[in-house]
């Protein structure tokens, strides 16, 4: 992305009036560190100029292979939230994450992690779980501990975009996924120090939030312009990030416009946006009416619904079964066995009844 396009992007965001509260600027999709540090220094300058009063946290999702001392200095200076994609020990990671010549990338990733540690840059890790990985919670736990990783998140291999199948679609996977989570939660939460597991934190928060204040509103990902996705040419979309750059028969291009030409007001009147929004709202309504997990979920990600079910106006997906239902169930089981210290009597009354 050119800095001119980035400047127009920030200007578009400012003009849209969407910034009402603190937000995250996430650099991801592809490897964001292939662009030099200088570019991000300039980008940060533009951000300050255009959105001086914004409360914005920058976040990188990287494979860590390019991290060096200069990157670490940048991360620390700007208090960047760093997420590293690493799938565990070599027999898991190198199975899917390879260079163009076919070599596994784990060694290079570990060098990156070592550099982050050397420069005291905090980071969290995201691991893509394939069907194979479900058999190795202890091995993953050992790997994280050995690498000094204290915060992990698990992304089940999803059906989205060009990834038209998932190893997790097989028979019995949900049971194996729950077994994996149950085992890993136990290892992580009883470790000294405990390991943060994003799925547990989110599920526990959803369970406790629903108990305190009633069902959540639509999620960031299924609410129009809760998320704004911009590609390197300035094309933008909303809803699930993976939709940007793709098209489909019912909806056409998921990109709604370009930051150079199309204001937020202009895309809100587009018929295809209206159709997307109507179908997504219908999908959320269907979830609300049919799924007992809705109070903790708020309706699934539209991207998964589209890629798996062919339409936004649909309900359950693989993502729902694994990342939502299984996580909530296993977390609820854990909380029942290990209740939070705050007693129910001390909880405020529900805001919505």
């Amino acid at each position: 992305m050119s800095l001119a396009t980035l400047d127009r992007t920030f200007q578009w965001v400012a003009d849209s009036g969407l910034v009402q509260e603190p937000f995250v600027l996430l650099w991801h999709a592809g490897e964001p560190l292939v662009v030099p540090v200088d570019w991000y220094e300039a980008a940060t300058e533009l951000l300050h100029v255009c959105g001086g009063d914004w409360q914005v946290k920058q976040s990188f999702q990287t494979n860590a292979t390019l991290i060096d001392a200069e990157w670490c200095r940048y991360f620390r200076q700007h208090e960047i939230d760093v997420g590293v994609s690493v799938d565990g020990p070599a027999f898991l990671h190198d199975q899917h994450r390879r260079t163009r010549s076919g070599e596994g990338t784990l060694e290079r990733v570990l060098r990156g992690l070592h550099t982050l540690h050397e420069h005291d840059v905090p980071f969290r890790v995201i691991t893509v779980l394939t069907a194979d990985a479900l058999e190795y919670p202890d091995e993953l736990f050992d790997f994280y501990r050995e690498q000094g990783i204290l915060s992990v998140g698990f992304n089940p291999e999803e059906v989205e975009g060009p990834n038209t199948t998932s190893s997790l679609q097989g028979e019995g996977t949900a049971t194996r996924f729950r077994r994996f989570l149950d085992r890993f939660f136990k290892l992580a939460l009883t470790a000294d120090p405990p390991m943060q597991v994003r799925e547990f934190e989110l599920s526990a928060s959803a369970l406790l939030h629903a108990r305190r204040s009633g069902p959540p509103r639509r999620t960031q990902e299924n609410r129009p312009f809760g998320v704004v996705n911009v590609d390197c040419e300035g094309n933008y979309s909303t809803y699930s990030p993976e939709l940007l750059g793709l098209r489909s028969t019912p909806y056409g291009e998921f990109a709604l416009g370009n930051v150079a030409n199309d204001s937020l007001a202009s895309v809100l009147t587009l018929p295809r946006f209206a159709r997307m929004e109507a179908d997504i709202a219908e999908g959320v309504r269907m979830c609300r009416d049919s799924c007992r997990y809705f109070p903790f979920c708020g309706g699934g990600p539209p991207g998964n619904k589209h890629f798996e079910n062919g339409t936004f106006a649909s309900t359950e997906t693989l993502f729902c079964r694994l990342h939502m239902k299984a996580c909530l169930d296993v977390t609820a089981d854990w909380l029942e066995r290990h209740p939070p210290t705050e007693s129910v009597a001390e909880l405020p009354e529900r805001a919505a009844t």
């Binding site: 027999f91 058999e135 190795y136 202890d138 091995e139 736990f141 050992d142 501990r145 085992r183």
Partner: protein
């Protein structure tokens, strides 16, 4: 005598470790009797390709069969010479092995008896259950620490002396075994130390030992117990080559339900040998 087809070595399903069989497995010359006990006889040498072909499972079928034996929860005594059951390598996670060392450190610091072994054993048991390495009944665990340089890890409970090679199935069990018999047996052992441990075994099932005895000494009476099968085989077939399998730190082997002759061999070690023995604790129901 050369190695006969019998139990095969494999990596247990749901485990990922580098088997590297050619450096892991070595072969001795035979068996020798010392003071009424039996020991493997060296010198040890690297296994040949032909021997590895006999010893190592290369087929998925074998591995899956071994898995199904454990998953089913119904132990079966394999037929004589069966290769559908084997010795499966596995590995406990490092966090579990370091939990053991924490227990030892606490004992060293306090001088008090070890606390927390039951919790440690429960964690190992949970891990094995997750990996579907389970057996009917409860598991019993003990750690055997043997001085470096010793010839055996097994002890005669009455004399305290090294007892050498013995069966993984209770020696008093009646022979032949029947499916209705459920007798205590050693299911697995795990190296808890920081240095590799060697486990010595005869690669034949107990039924294979009995068959070999019947061939060599057809006019003898049949053994009446598992202990007799082992003793008679070691005495009459002392030219049978034992197999030594090296276990790295945290590595273990899951042993076949049909039983085999086995011992630990700390003779070449520099530090005490430290093996976790996992057994079933069930009694005869026949």
């Amino acid at each position: 005598m050369t190695l006969q087809p019998g139990y095969r070595l494999a990596v247990a399903p749901k485990f990922h470790l580098d088997a590297n069989w050619s450096t892991r497995v070595s072969v001795g010359v035979g068996l020798e009797e010392v003071g009424g006990q039996f020991f493997p006889r060296g010198p040890w040498r690297a296994s040949t390709q032909d021997e590895l072909a006999v010893l190592i499972s290369t087929t998925e079928q074998h591995v899956h069969k071994a898995d199904s034996l454990q998953v089913s929860g119904q132990e079966q005594v394999p037929a004589s010479g069966s290769t559908t059951d084997g010795v499966c390598l596995f590995q406990i996670p490092e966090h579990m092995r370091s939990a053991w060392w924490s227990l030892l450190d606490a004992v060293a610091d306090s001088g008090a008896p070890m606390q927390g072994f039951d919790e440690f054993a429960a964690k190992v048991s949970e891990f094995l259950a997750f990996k579907r390495l389970t057996v009917p009944g409860s598991l019993q665990m003990e750690v055997i620490v043997t001085a470096a340089g010793a010839r055996t890890i097994r002890r005669d409970p009455e004399t305290g002396q090294g007892s050498g090679l013995g069966s993984t199935i209770a020696p008093w069990a009646a022979w032949p075994l029947h499916e209705s018999d459920a007798v205590p047996r050693l299911c697995a052992l795990v190296n808890l130390g920081d240095e590799p441990s060697n486990v010595v075994l005869v690669n034949l099932p107990l039924a294979g030992l009995a068959a070999e005895l019947a061939t060599r000494t057809p006019n003898e009476v049949c053994p009446a117990t598992v202990g007799e099968v082992v003793e008679w085989f070691c005495r009459d077939c002392s030219d049978y080559p034992p197999v030594s399998v090296k276990l790295g730190p945290a590595e273990g082997c899951w042993l076949p339900v049909g039983g085999l002759v086995l011992d630990g061999d700390p003779s070449g070690k520099e530090e005490p040998d430290m093996l976790l023995l996992i057994s079933t604790n069930i009694t005869t129901n026949s």
